[in-house]
Amino acid sequence: MKIILKHILRNLKEHKMRAFLIFFSLLVSTSVFVISLTISDDLTIKVEDTLRSVYGNAEVQVATVDPFKLDDLKMNKDKYSYLGMSSLDGVDAKEKPISILGMDIEKAVDFKLLGNDAKKLALNEIYINKNLEDKGYKKGQVIKLKYEDKEYNLTIKGVIENKGIASIRPDDDTFFASIETVNSIKNIEDGNYDTIYFDLKNNNKIGEFVDYIKDHNDNYMVAKTVDMESIKEATSMISTIMYLILLMATIMIYFVISSLNKIILAERIPVIGTFRSVGASRTKMNLILVLENALYGIFAGLFGAIIGTYLDSYCSSVFITADGIDVAKSSVSLSVGTILIGILFATLLQIIIVVKEIIRTNKKPIKDLIFNTQNSRYKMRKKRTVIGFILLISSIILFVLIKNIDMLTIGVLLICFIVGVANTLPLIFQLISKCLAYIFKKIGWSTGIITSKNIGYNKMIISSSRLVVIAISLLSSIILMSKATADCFTGFREVTKNVDLMISNPHKSSEEYDYLNDIDGVKEVQFLNSYFADDITYTKGKNKNKKFNLPPGFYAEKERKNVYIEEIDYKISDLKDDEILFDEKYAFKNNIKKGDKITMHFGTLKKSYTYTVKGFVNASNFNVSRNMVVVSYNHLINDLNGIPMQLHIVLDKGYDPDEMKDVVHDAMKEVGIYVQTTEEYISEQEGQVAGIIAIVYLVIGISVTLAFIGILNNQVIGFINRRKEIAILNSTCMNKTQIKKMLALETILSNFISLFIATIVSFITTIFVNNFMMNIGLYLNIKYDFMTVFKFELIVYILLLLTLFVPFRKLKKMNIVDEIKYE
């Protein structure tokens, strides 16, 4: 066996370029596979770690606006420890807002809600956060705090680490004090809190505990501090996108490797024949070739798993944007399991790609193998063409026919479609070649006639063209997808064109912000009113307590100012309190029709309302998931959420938003708000998407490189395979210039045809991709932008024409006598 291994290794060494190409293709595929496999878990762990580092041992948080006592809560458990907090928002001597969190400091350290350095505080002693230290506050200093027209002197005992709850809003000014200090300022009795954290001591029935409190108490906000379910839900979408990229990358790599493999086998046929003639059975020969391919898989799988693991931690950090909180850095850990799975994946993939061709080659009689009776003429197999055609047509028909198609089906149909295209392509090429031959015959151009025949019948040309069509159409779709992702805020940007400042996270109802109108330079204050909660279910007819694919966001407007939500068939201003409009895509997805009567159950609010669906809207400007419904303003404000989601400020002409941002922030005596210019707000949103796009472009870049090298390789080997043919042509009827012309024309025409077909194919694959994205709840609205595809194809075309230099150089160096000596 040693000899066989040597033979295999030397094969790899002798064809470094090809070996590297296959290795690299598998590596890419394995890396993406490993990322898809682990990113969801990795993200989940990271988010979980982050939340745990903030909330320490606290598992459940119960809060209200008005102070409450522990005894006020009806609970179903008595084994727990708890930490009560009382907080207030005041201002300092310069009227800057400051919030104080009061708690039993020692207990908070035990709960890991504060860092170890915090010690017990006496009355009117405080710790300050890092942010205040940066502003020049020092230990020992006495600070004046104003709260409800009274002044208090507080002594700074020290600075607290940015850990636990101190890390939630590191940019705010926050004091930490004993509960007695805060309660005495608020003038309420001891034992009153506005937030209580519970540690259930490893009790895994946290959900039950939360549900019980929700069901038996009114007006409390009750939540798990770390809600694994919603974290998992959020991360699964990202891994689904990675799977789509994996699918496309793998399809592309399939064609790169299989065309390389065909060439490798074709070249090796005499050697295979020799092995067989000295007594290797068919099975043994198959095994030897499979083993050789398995080697690629093993190495590529190993390195792919390593690279994938490291890229994974990069990718997951791209996706995480927990507001203001420093994300826990998960230590990259490469497990044996990951490596084994990576190796298994790459090896299987490689073997699946090559095994059919290996077996087919070995089926040939030994005599044909030894004397390599292969020729470069493409033999069309009728059965394959027919099957290809059936796959092509049926995948499109099924795609159109199946309503509410699921993700897996789309994936399968996409593969069927691509396989269908790949198998019908030779026929298309032969038809086109016949047409061209006819035209050239009419003109009487002999080079043209030979060339057009080659295009339809030369193995290498057909194999390269297949690669071009598949790779370029899939890449075009990916490009359009990422373009749509990049553009998903253009709608919002357009709508908010006249808005200068955006204030997020306000705490009061809209009337209480009237004072903003008095600020010099503020022309108008607008309110964005909505209600988001993830515990909304609905009842429609016999369907009781159903979940939506994504929980709906409720939107309402007092008057039509900016078109966040486009009306389609019903005026938002005409809505009555028991009427509702659905985003059209969201309604389709959840099978909701005009006229439906639907009862929504609001878990947190513990209310239910029944609505009649009056029509549809388009919420694509508002968010890409489009999980939006519109209700009357009255209903939203009075029953669901009286506090606006955002305040939008329009400035008078001549005022600079960047300066006004600070003016407005100072004027607002409120903690926890963010004032941003519209540009800042949108760029921040876009920044979150940019990471995804960066990854997509990385995949595109690698794929283009792969496809290009693959085609270059095809050119080289195509020429080697055709040496004899070219030598004969040269010795009998054509001079080198004519041969050059023929080769050039071949490349120009065949790639032009390929790209033309790729354009049509990409149109359909884009529809598949679009539907896939919609299926996971991203209405990216991927449009078939011909110009983008055209530009991309033009670049590819130029690159493809450049590959001509390879056969040109070889032709120059070719010695005809050598080539035809053995004839």
């Binding site: 040693k2 066989i4 033979h7 024949g273 000295v278 007594g279 009689p365 030894i370």
Partner: protein
């Protein structure tokens, strides 16, 4: 008992109008230890006959018996075994695996037979000295002359001590001096190892190395 027996062997290529009748019902036998030369004009079907005997191709009708066994009834695996153990092939263009050394090429049949290489070390040394290439054992094929390469392929055919060596124009591509060396080698292994040899040749001179000549013309023995 004859080691090779050909019975009404027919081979046609192509179908319908394109059908070419290459072998038209051949009958002959070769005894163990014979050295037979097969002669005939180019295109007379010599190679075709050789491949049918070696099981590289299948006859249209008729039977090839090796050691009284109809090779057409053998399964693919048994056929591979037959090629490994009972028959050695030598081709005009040597057919050496270019990236394996001389000794690795010679050892290929041993590897394919699943035998341990070290058990064949002595045999390898002996064969290398028979073909006179002991000093070139670590060389790659392209570092050898044509005659040397052909001797390597003969060594490969001999390594498992086959009963028969089938050679298709083994010196067709060699100069006369190298050709003579190869023919001497055949004579030697036929005598010393008792291997039956069936060679296809164009040259009357090399045909004389054998003890019998079979002539083919238009698909028939004359």
């Amino acid at each position: 008992m004859s080691i090779i027996k050909i019975d009404k062997l027919v081979k046609n290529f192509g179908k319908g109008e394109n059908e070419v009748k290459v072998l038209k019902g051949l009958n002959f036998e070769i005894e163990k230890g014979e050295f037979v030369s097969l002669m005939g004009a180019s295109g007379s079907g010599k190679s075709t006959l050789l491949y049918l005997i070696g099981g590289l191709d299948k006859p249209t009708s008729g039977t090839v018996y090796i050691n009284d066994k109809d090779i057409n009834t053998l399964k693919e695996k048994e056929m591979a075994k037959l090629r490994r153990k009972d028959i050695g092939f030598v081709f005009q263009f040597y057919n050496l695996v270019q990236n394996l050394t001389v000794e690795e090429n010679i050892m290929l049949p041993v590897v394919m037979d699943g035998k341990k290489e070290k058990d064949y070390k002595d045999r390898l040394d002996k064969i290398l000295s028979i073909i006179g290439l002991s000093d070139k054992r670590k060389n790659l094929p392209n570092e050898l002359s044509g005659g040397q390469q052909q001797r390597v392929s003969i060594a490969r055919a001999m390594i498992l001590s086959p009963n028969i060596i089938l050679a298709d124009e083994p010196i067709g591509n060699l100069d006369s001096k190298s050709g003579k060396e190869v023919m001497d080698l055949f004579k030697k292994i036929n005598k010393e190892e008792g291997i039956t040899i069936l060679q296809v040749t164009h040259s009357e001179e090399s045909a004389k190395y054998g003890n019998r000549i079979i002539r083919l013309k238009d698909g028939e023995i004359i």
